[in-house]
Assembly symmetry: D4
Homo-oligomer: 213 residues x 8
């Protein structure tokens, strides 16, 4: 077999097993899913296009598809939701797919999630107008491309941990998200940590670990 499956963690925590679909054939994704389902765990396929979704349905499971997030979920044992909130924010409309990947990941892992879109730092009043929702979250996932400045400003408005997600949205000297990544790594605000460019999944997962502590 081309993929060994390790489901101790998911049985223990109720957490889903994740299949990263990008770079895999539909057959490979389905094959891995089948083996995981034998153990009766929840499954989440990320970077999954409609073909993956339909192939998973075809094996006779009830599959939820989150198109904007590109995530397909098979939820056999629902995880009880948290009372505290993860806030997923993004700077621009084009960042929404990455933000959705984070938000859906966190939801599947049993977190209450709030969303806030299109609050760039160039219009600071729109951001400040949302201060209450920002300050009521327990963990924040802040998604931004281009100049990547949103996490710095946001972290200044809260005492909670901020997970910054650079996106590849931009052109020219954004160099595929490098500019936003460097901005976030150099943030002068306290409490900011960073994940890979476009890694909404990783941010949602880490936020869930923190929120469920």
């Amino acid at each position: 077999g081309y993929a060994m499956v390790d489901h101790h963690r998911s049985l223990r925590s109720g957490y889903p097993e994740t299949i990263f679909s990008q770079g895999k054939t539909v057959e490979q994704v389905v094959g891995i899913a089948r083996r995981l389902l034998e153990k009766n765990v929840n499954i989440m396929a990320t970077r999954a296009d409609r073909n993956v979704y339909e192939a998973l349905q075809a094996i006779g499971e009830s599959v939820e598809y989150h198109a904007a997030a590109r995530i397909a979920v098979i939820n056999r044992q629902p995880v009880p939701p948290t009372r505290t909130t993860i806030l997923v924010m993004c700077a621009g409309t084009s960042d929404i797919p990455v933000a959705e990947e984070a938000a859906v990941t966190a939801e599947v892992m049993g977190n209450r999630v709030e969303r806030l879109a299109d609050v760039g730092v160039a219009g600071i009043h729109r951001l400040l107008a949302k201060r209450k929702i920002i300050q009521s979250a327990s963990v924040l996932v802040v998604v931004a491309g281009m100049d990547g400045a949103l996490p710095s400003v946001t972290a200044g408005l809260t005492d909670k941990p901020v997970i910054a997600v650079p996106t590849s949205i931009g052109y020219g000297a954004s160099f595929g998200g490098l500019a936003a990544l460097l901005t976030m790594l150099n943030s002068c605000a306290n409490g900011v940590t960073v994940v890979n460019i476009d890694n909404g999944y990783g941010a949602g997962y880490a936020a869930s670990l923190i929120n469920r502590m």
Copy 2:
């Protein structure tokens, strides 16, 4: 004045105000400290050499100096320590200064901190021998230079959040810590987030926010 001071947060949280001494003259550090002390907050000067330490003592305060961490602390109101633990690990002897910066920062912010040094991934048994201490921590700060592989392996041994700190330790294609930084950003392990190269302070601070939730 060359520095405006903002101490609402520290008054509210008991957290220290931090002065980043690198790139400032001793006079500038002392000047900022004086103004902060008027508000009766705790102070932590990072990247502080002995000159900074002695100049702070000279203004008549009781200053603790953590030489390995390069941190000078003026602790007017002790913060009650947590029961849960932050584990600060590092891969090699040369990474210790950065690990200490993280550990002392977390301690000053009122966390119980454990330390684990010299547990590189090339001798995996030395790491596995420490599995108990790894699994009993609530948050982990994992510091590594060169190949930066330690956070990936460590995160696989725990379900708690891991904050990865790349260091500039290395030579040649380590490019001043870039290699370790990229390794950590590309970690395949769940729950890993990353801070700037050599940013022990930022890791300790974020770990504290999480540990004290």
Copy 3:
């Protein structure tokens, strides 16, 4: 001779001739200054340490030395100051030398200059508290290292042109100012243009061209 001198512009505009001292011997700077002085123009030596200053004094001129800005000025024909204002802001204490290079350059070129230091985006209220001075300036020079996010936020608070100056202040993934430079080039705010890392002179000069239109 090792340097041809071109003073049409300065005669015409009353603008100073600039000698970029970095990478030149004191003898070369003095030699160039002597030749310029034969034409009775104003002179400004940038990146000038005390040796340059003293050597210029030694040729019998009245020289003003701006230590923080590292600029020595010989002002034979004072330029009448503008009524409109150039605001020079910087994010951190360590950015002050670059900000001063911009401010002094603009002053020598006959502009009214205001200064605002230590207004990073992580403490957005300190920045907003200065909104009046920001909105009364005709041109803004905004200097920042590390994450370089200040120009984006500032440009959102004004309808005037903002010249962004990245500095080499920082460490690790700041890569000598590259991170701040990329942030500024990717700014989502309208009206931002950018100069070279640490190029306070260039920003001050361009700001003056705009302010004196």
Copy 4:
């Protein structure tokens, strides 16, 4: 809603609200446009292909489409044009789309605009032959790919501010416009500031802020 709209500025200044279409679906662009039109402002959609143009027409507005510039304009309240001129120059035929983005942006914002194409520095006499038009402009936008040398030479021919726009035109070691960008940031000429690679819009906007002072 996926995009909050902020139209204070455009109401106040008569300036258009801009929608950056790249990375947005046609539906998203139209949705944002509809909300903006409720406030009776002018709208400019940049990086807009014909689909965007036609979808905007379909909502019953009179839309102007500038194909070379990839800009669609809905002009409800014409802005009175300036008497002073912005000159938009480019080095090669392939740079024209970026130059047009700058020129149309400036025109929509109420500026008189002149154009000069195909005046590379390798044929300096063609450039010098245009000296009169260069020296009669109040602000210059200078667009170039490959070696990006045109702004340096042009700025030497005028005392007015020059906004340099690197383009991604080129191959090999042009690295997607990086070479031209670095050339422009390192320009030895006074008065040059720089925007992102291919950012004709940003250059046109900043030029307008300066020209309308």
Copy 5:
């Protein structure tokens, strides 16, 4: 002719002559193959898609096609296999094509080859469970993308030479395999050497030279 052929080595060693098909037309590959076959040597075409395979069959040879490895082989003189083993490991399912390129190359060159797939470092127990097979190999080829950490850990489990192969699998800050490459070059484990990103062929070849010593 567009390609000079040199077959001394292959006649001497029984080793195949290799044609790197990428960037060549099918006609060029077939032309080179024809000339080699006149000398009665074995041939291996790497980076060969089905078109190349079918074109080689069309010249009347018995061709073996390894689809996953993208290698077509014409084996006129079988090479006697070794008793010692080369182990080819990879970290993830998506790395399999590169691992197969290494494995098939080594097999064609007459080596006994074992394979181990999907043993990333984030699930260290899955790796440790394979310790016996790891320690019984004479040479190891270790293939990984993303964080590229597998060779460091593996080399710590054996005293045999490890050839590390970074892959371009990943996204964002993997920068097309650069992250994994740097990780491997900075490996703290003894006995690790590295080949180009995605260069399964080079790794298989070098492993064979070592294994057949």
Copy 6:
């Protein structure tokens, strides 16, 4: 008009005027050609695909098309050929298009040109076997991708100027030709100068200037 044409040089030297077709529409190329032809000069369109070739034919000219070189030529006044020779060498079969761009450019400019393909440094005897042809050339254009080592070795075999052309042929750490470019810039051999990645045209042109001195 979108392109000013400057033909003093070509009239004076008999040299062709060049149109760089990449990034231009067929209409733009034809438009520029028409204007040039009014002056009765020779024309060479580089990076020209068959569409450009056919469009040029359609304006009623006799056009030669060099498919491998992607060059279309309209030769109204033949240039008398040199007696001395330019040798154009390349390391691999995939480098031939760039080598041909150099060779055809040099031929159109009236040089005698020899060609040598597929002489990589890893089979040094094949290179040494060609020593006579190498040493009889007056100028050498040496084209190589991947490791780009051929110019260093070749320059050691001759006392004539060597123009090195890196190509984008390769994968992984060749980074689109960057590796070969850096190798050539760092060549330890005397007499080597370098042009842009894939710039066969520039190498052929410079070689012609030297050969015709």
Copy 7:
């Protein structure tokens, strides 16, 4: 203690334990050495300056110091030498320290070592004159800075494995050894693998693993 010591391997293999002295204080090196010596293993301190050497002597051991290689050795149990040979070659005089680090490492590990210095590819006859010694080695370590072309040519002259070591020798576009590193990774010759810039130790170690198989 700041360093855990793991000496199973050295006891088993007779191989020395290595202390990488760079970035450690003399006290740290001595402390680690003391603990290792309790187990009666051989010790090798790399990147060791005279201070390290003298401090090791001061603890009462017989220490050999290889100044050019910057290695100090405490050899309690001599390793029986091999009959087969490792050849360590370098391209220029300035590469000798890195070559010596490789050669001494291999000797301490019990290998017969030959040395060949100053055989750059620009004088190919000097290299070819050494063909006999090249072809009689079982493993080759090839060290080069600047263009890094020597391993490609050398590997073409032998059927044995070649370990390529880029050095930081060079200036300008050598970028601290990056150019040589990329050249070696892109080598078109079979059997070449690469280690980190300046990593003579790693090359010598891997060569020993291969030579002693």
Copy 8:
């Protein structure tokens, strides 16, 4: 011996043998010089500081020292000078050392050399004023740091080959000469070839090969 010496070329051509002193000890330079002098050739030591100069004098030779160029020359057989001229130009005062390295190299190799300093493109008239000297040269070496734009403009003023030398002069986004290097590689002017950053020697050597054809 640490350096093999190869003097066929210099005996044949009257050209000097060159010793690159950077990275070598004075003893190594003198040792190499001694062995060369046995063959009665001319010697040129580049990157030579006064210590090298004095050590060469101490072996009893008549040595000429060019301090600005950092070149020491032992001239046993004077080379007859050419009638045609190499023009060495540089953009700024700080570029003079590199320009002198080129000029002195060319002179030692028997060329007539003209010099032109401080003719940056931002003051194009100063450059145009020198058009006669530019057009009377047979080969041009054009040296520039910062934006590196001078070779493009100069090549447009002549039909002779231009060798462009980027220098490491600059700061910030000049990245140690990278900006100037890329500018020159991307030059739109015909006839430009490029050497390594600061490589005045290589430019002077190649210019001499061309000028003496």
